[in-house]
């Protein structure tokens, strides 16, 4: 069996309403370690629900989700939180950086809720910043950085502690063309280093950079083969 980071099997998510909203229907998705996958779809296609499910922020109504070999269906809220904290690095459209903390503190924060060596934390956070090309911005506050730099900080935070999966939600949604391509170049680099990437976006250009494209429409997934 190959080394699967994500295994979704027959996952559905129905929101109770009148009539019930079927956000995800019988979704199957396998992501192998080291893969760079983009999930592309228009708004209302179920992207956000899929992201929340993958990120353990939401529970599927039915089906099985194995993250890094751990079946998540039967886990308690606390166990899901611990798993989320240790296995998943999130990158958000709006960065979610704390404006009153330095860049280094923002990165180091990823380790607050885990067991890790506290003494070397800031040092390792700075190394993570260097990895995304921000070694010269260590003591800065986020509000003094450009949008692209902020997203790099967020990526450094997501990478911190070596998660099994980097889960990106519209990572370039708030960025212009030039900085977008910078961030996408960084994704390529990370992918080359063996990081497992799942990028959820509505932007065809962004999704085209991934090794593998999955389209989501009306809560169903379609694998797209690249016409090279």
């Amino acid at each position: 069996m190959t080394d699967l980071v994500i295994r979704l099997a027959g996952v559905s998510r129905v929101f109770p309403a009148e009539p019930p909203v079927r956000a995800l229907t019988e979704v199957h998705l396998d992501v192998v370690r080291g893969e760079y996958v983009s999930i592309v779809g228009a708004s209302g296609s179920g992207k956000s629900t899929l992201l929340n499910t993958l990120g353990l922020l939401d529970r599927p109504t039915s089906g099985s989700y194995q993250l890094d070999g751990v079946e998540t269906a039967g886990l308690s809220d606390g166990e899901r939180t611990a798993l989320r904290g240790s296995r998943i690095g999130f990158v958000f459209q709006s960065f979610h950086l704390l404006s009153y903390r330095t860049v280094t503190d923002n990165v180091a924060m990823a380790e607050l809720y885990r067991r890790a060596d506290r003494a070397t934390r800031l040092e390792r956070a700075n190394q993570a910043l260097e990895r995304v090309g921000l070694g010269h911005r260590k003591g800065f506050r986020p509000d003094r950085l450009s949008g692209g730099e902020r997203q790099r900080v967020a990526i450094a935070r997501a990478l911190f502690g070596g998660p099994a999966l980097l889960l990106c939600d519209e990572p370039t949604g708030n960025l212009d063309r030039v900085t977008t391509s910078g961030v996408l170049d960084l994704f390529d680099e990370l992918s080359a280093q063996g990081v497992t990437l799942v990028v959820i976006t509505h932007d065809e250009q962004v999704s085209l950079r991934a090794q593998r494209r999955v389209r989501i429409e009306d809560g169903r997934l379609w694998e797209e083969t690249r016409c090279a």
Partner: protein, 401 residues
């Protein structure tokens, strides 16, 4: 999550909005300051009052023998029993007295002259005593002298009069050796007490005081009925406990002790009177401060929904979120408490200096007031913290930036 990290995060949160934090802690600050000033000044003033009491009255003890024992019965305390009492550390002086029964009040007159126009026969209390009495009751001798151990040993028929007793009997000087007749027994007056002092037994002012062997011989007066004790400053509570046992090892339960109120009790009483209103004021401002903290923390929680979502995404559990906001509000309360306590103590010292008082600082007050501030902050943060912890991460991430 480590405790030190929790503290770091909370401090960073508090420090990120210094102006807001300062304004938020104002309520706690005012409340704690008011409380510390109130309690501190009251304790200082009460100590001042108690200190004045101490010097004068807080050193006198009266031990009373059980009433009704006949003169022939075995004494509960004998005249010679004082030796064991004076030995005690803290006893400055002691004297025993025997008061004649009220129903056998003795007739006292000054001379043999029978004048139909004046009342010459007086019914006055007659007291027999040991020689050291004036020292014990803070009495001074206005004229002549008090009888001493020599008079006592020789069974001399001498008497000392209280100031009022002397006036009633018409005796104004002692250098001509006037006599008084008690039950037709003659005694030479050798001294008259001044009317001041006598704080342990004001009755001595109208009494005829005789040496105890003489009184026993001539008037069949019995064993001591009272022992008066003057203690060193501060020793009264201790001596009050020890005196009955020293006086009468077998029957100390029968002795009644009248001791001055313990200075601390007295102080407590004074504090109780003066404090009530201001304590209520301080508590009210604490409550107002708590409401302020609760409000601001709630606003802060709403402003930081995005941060809450992020922390949840990073693996923070609900209790981590609740703990962070609780520690933040507790810190605000604690800082307010510390500054308030300091300001209050400075105010107490300044007030004391202006009044020439010795400032009295209760250590438990100085330590407890900041704790009270922190508790106020924690209580106030309870509801906002629960609100923050209850948020769903998905919602929080979506609505916050």
């Amino acid at each position: 999550m480590r405790l030190i990290d929790l503290g770091d995060e909370a401090l960073a949160g508090v420090a990120s909005r210094p102006m807001r934090t300062a304004l938020t802690m104002l309520g706690t600050f005012i409340g704690i300051t008011t409380l510390v000033i109130t309690l501190g000044v009251a304790a200082t003033a009460a100590n001042q009052i108690a200190g004045r009491f101490d010097a004068v009255t807080a050193t006198g003890i009266t031990v009373t023998m059980p009433a009704g024992s006949s003169p022939d019965a075995a004494p509960v305390v004998s005249w010679n029993g004082l030796a064991d009492l004076v030995r005690l550390n803290g006893v400055h002086a002691a004297a025993a007295i025997s008061e004649a029964n009220a129903d056998s009040n003795l007739v006292v007159r000054a001379n043999e002259l029978h004048d139909p126009n004046t009342v010459t026969d007086r019914s006055l209390p007659v007291v027999s005593a040991t020689a050291g009495l004036p020292q014990v009751v803070n009495a001074t001798v206005a004229q002549g002298r008090f009888f001493d151990d020599g008079h006592v040993k020789r069974h001399d028929r001498v008497a000392v009069l209280g100031a009022t007793a002397a006036k009633l009997l018409g005796i104004t000087r002692v250098d001509d050796q006037p006599a008084v007749f008690v039950n037709d027994q003659a005694f030479t007056v050798i001294g008259i007490l001044a009317s001041s002092g006598l704080d342990l037994d004001h009755g001595l002012d109208v009494s005829v005081i005789l040496p105890y062997p003489t009184a026993t011989d001539q008037l069949r007066m019995g064993q001591p009925t009272k022992v008066l004790i003057r203690t060193d400053l501060g020793a009264a509570p201790l001596i009050a406990k020890q005196a009955p046992i020293a006086l009468s090892p077998d029957d100390h339960d029968q002795l009644q002790v009248q001791a001055p109120p313990d200075p601390t009790t007295l102080r407590g009483g004074v504090e109780h009177d003066t404090n009530g209103l201001f304590v209520v004021l301080g508590l009210v401002s604490l409550v107002v401060g708590a409401i302020g903290i609760a409000n601001v923390t709630l606003v802060t929680v709403m402003e930081r929904i995005g941060e809450i979502g992020l922390r949840r995404a990073l693996g923070a559990r609900r209790r981590h979120i609740a703990a962070q906001f609780l520690v933040e509000s507790g810190t605000v309360g604690l800082i307010g408490g510390v500054i308030g306590t300091s300001a209050g103590i400075i105010a107490v010292v300044v007030i004391s200096a202006l009044n020439d008082w010795t400032p009295v600082l209760d250590m438990s007050l100085a330590a407890g007031a900041p704790v009270a501030g922190a508790l106020v902050g924690l209580l106030a943060g309870l509801y906002p913290a629960l609100r923050a912890a209850r948020m769903e991460p998905v919602e929080a991430l979506r609505s916050g930036t």
